[in-house]
């Protein structure tokens, strides 16, 4: 017990020392999913070309390892950086960063998904908690991106589509690294055109991906291309 107490005390000392060096400063990333030019809302039917329709019931994705860069060097790395973004709640679309050192930064870099070191290190709480529904069960691993809905283009039962994209083992590691240039403002919107992504999929033949593999990697790569910093 005394051992434990001293460990705790030492850890607290480390933490408070680190804390004192930092200046308070805030920055926020806001994620804004769109269907083309219209903000995406769940359970809303969007009409596309040729009377095709699309509707999303779930759209969740992990952003982790958030870093701010000054040109090529890391200016700030968010500690314990795991965020589950979820369109079902407006509050779950922001990543606030605090305790930034003062100074300028030019880019933001993050993972889309959860890295394999974390994936193989056991259970975690918070946004990684197993109750969040983002873990596979019979085969370990986080679902990096979960997108479900219906479309007239899907040939599946009830015109559904379900994409649970993930995978942490090579050669089917579907983790993506995304780097985006930042304007100088302290609040930045990142726009994601989900329609552009879904248009890259032939829903008539591919409408369910529920485990890691080649297709999950491909669709994750394509999903990573829809993140754009919104011009003000």
């Amino acid at each position: 017990m005394t051992l434990l107490t001293s460990i705790v005390v030492m850890l607290l000392l480390c933490l408070s020392a680190a804390h004192a060096q930092q200046e308070r400063s805030d920055f926020q990333l806001n994620f804004r999913p769109f269907v083309g030019s219209v903000p995406l809302q769940l359970d809303t039917i969007y009409t596309l070309d040729k009377n095709q329709t699309i509707e999303f019931s779930t759209l969740k994705w992990y952003i982790s390892g958030v870093e701010l860069l000054r040109n090529d060097t890391v200016f700030f790395a968010e500690p314990n950086s795991y965020h589950l973004l979820d369109v079902s709640d407006e509050h779950l679309l922001h990543i606030p960063l605090s305790h930034l050192p003062s100074g300028q930064f030019t880019h933001v870099r993050f993972y889309l998904g959860i890295d394999s070191a974390t994936t193989t290190s056991g259970a975690f709480g918070g946004d990684l908690d197993p109750t969040r529904g983002m873990l596979w069960t019979w085969q370990s691993g986080y679902i990096h991106t979960k997108i479900e809905g219906k479309s007239s283009r899907s040939t599946a039962r009830n015109k559904e589509f379900e994409f649970h994209l993930g995978g942490y083992r090579s050669p089917f590691n579907s983790l993506q690294t995304i780097t985006l240039p930042l304007p100088s403002s302290r609040e930045v919107s990142i726009k994601m055109d989900v329609l552009k992504w879904i248009n890259s999929i032939d829903l008539a033949s591919v409408h369910h991906i529920m485990s890691p593999g080649e297709q999950a990697v491909l669709l994750s790569q394509q999903f990573a291309t829809i993140f754009r910093v919104e011009a003000r």
């Binding site: 051992l3 480390c14 193989t120 259970a123 709480g125 109750t131 873990l135 069960t137 370990s140 089917f172």
Partner: protein, 340 residues
């Protein structure tokens, strides 16, 4: 610099502490465990919470099946008498439940290594693969509605909040305590007992023919190997290949420990053999199946050799483990439970 030093001290203390802790200690001559205890420091309260959860059917969808239904202590935590474990889930029905012991040394779980960490293991039986995203949440909800669990979580974690992480880590803690290291074999190794002549002959054979995969002292090399079993065409289970999707992993399965092998029948991932004799017959008459391990040597055992080998394998029985009351149904916890 100071920070690094302090962290170093902390890490060192953690290491020293967890080679032998009042709740977990490494048996003499064994390697360091693979499980990272610094991420889930053992405590009596957490172990007992995990033990309650292990024996409680509340974890299953219809509250009928507990972990212990398929992992019974008296058979080294495997499923009594069933070749393929029966339960709530389709997938479960295709494999034989493995004996649970010495899990802290294991890196991969399940016959094909589909589970990458002990903490994640309980998710598999708890959740249904088709509706996985609601079930864990529901279990946590059910537990929080009982009168039994919030106090147990408070005792373990300082407050009564139940989360998936806490639940899984407590279950790991209980399973980590399932250490079998008190067999006759262990006594012989510590020079407290002696093998009979037959056992000694069997041990010698074992060391030449079997140890390359069933490596002492844990009796597994923790690799995936193909031990020459022909594919069961009704199950079409290709083992490790289903996880890695590599053809070279076809028909490879995790090398199981042989500790308590006397009780963990039926044998192999699909429980195809009922008796140790059948297993030895298999090794004696292996035919090529494509990716079998080059560690397999021609064996052609005589019947005397089979008797000797069997005698040796029986020295791996650890009755203290099989009857240790610290692992059994925690009556004292459930007795206090109001009917809810």
């Amino acid at each position: 610099m100071k920070r690094i030093l302090l962290l170093g001290i902390v890490a060192f203390l953690a290491l020293v502490a967890f080679r032998s802790d009042e709740n977990f200690s490494v048996p003499t001559g064994w390697p360091n465990p693979h499980y990272d205890f610094s991420k889930n420091p053992p405590s009596r309260a957490k172990i007992e919470l995990g033990r309650a959860l292990f024996y409680d059917p509340i974890l299953s969808r219809n509250s009928t099946i507990s972990c212990a239904s398929c992992h019974s202590q008296y058979t080294a935590f495997t499923h009594v008498d069933h070749a393929l474990s029966h339960g709530i889930d389709d997938r479960i029905g295709t494999r034989n439940s493995p004996a649970l012991m010495n899990l802290a040394w294991s890196k991969d779980f399940m016959w094909d290594g589909a589970v990458n960490h002990l903490d994640m293991q309980a998710l598999a039986p708890i959740s249904n693969p088709q509706e996985m995203d609601e079930t864990m949440t529901h279990v946590v909800h059910k537990l929080s509605q009982t009168s039994l669990y919030p106090p147990l979580f408070r005792a373990a974690y300082g407050d009564s909040t139940i989360t998936g992480e806490r639940l899984l880590k407590a279950m790991s803690q209980f399973m980590l305590t399932l250490i079998s290291a008190r067999s006759k074999y262990d006594s012989v190794m510590q020079r407290e007992a002696e093998f009979t002549l037959q056992e000694q002959n069997g041990y010698r054979l074992f060391q030449t023919k079997c140890s390359s995969c069933h490596t002492e002292p844990l009796f597994t090399n923790y690799q995936f190997e193909n031990n020459g079993l022909p594919l069961d065409t009704t199950l079409m289970d290709y083992g490790r290949m289903s996880v890695t999707k590599q053809a070279s992993d076809s028909l490879k399965f995790k090398v199981p420990t042989l500790r308590n092998i006397e009780f963990s029948y039926p044998y192999m991932h699909d429980g195809r053999f009922k008796r140790l004799r059948d297993v030895l017959m298999h090794y004696s008459t292996i035919r090529q199946n494509g990716t079998e391990s080059n560690k397999l040597q021609p064996m052609n055992f005589t019947s005397n050799e089979m008797v000797d080998l069997t005698a040796f394998l029986l020295t791996l029985t650890d009755r203290k483990f099989l009857f240790d009351t610290a692992y059994s149904y925690p009556k004292y916890i459930f007795a206090t439970q109001a009917k809810d």
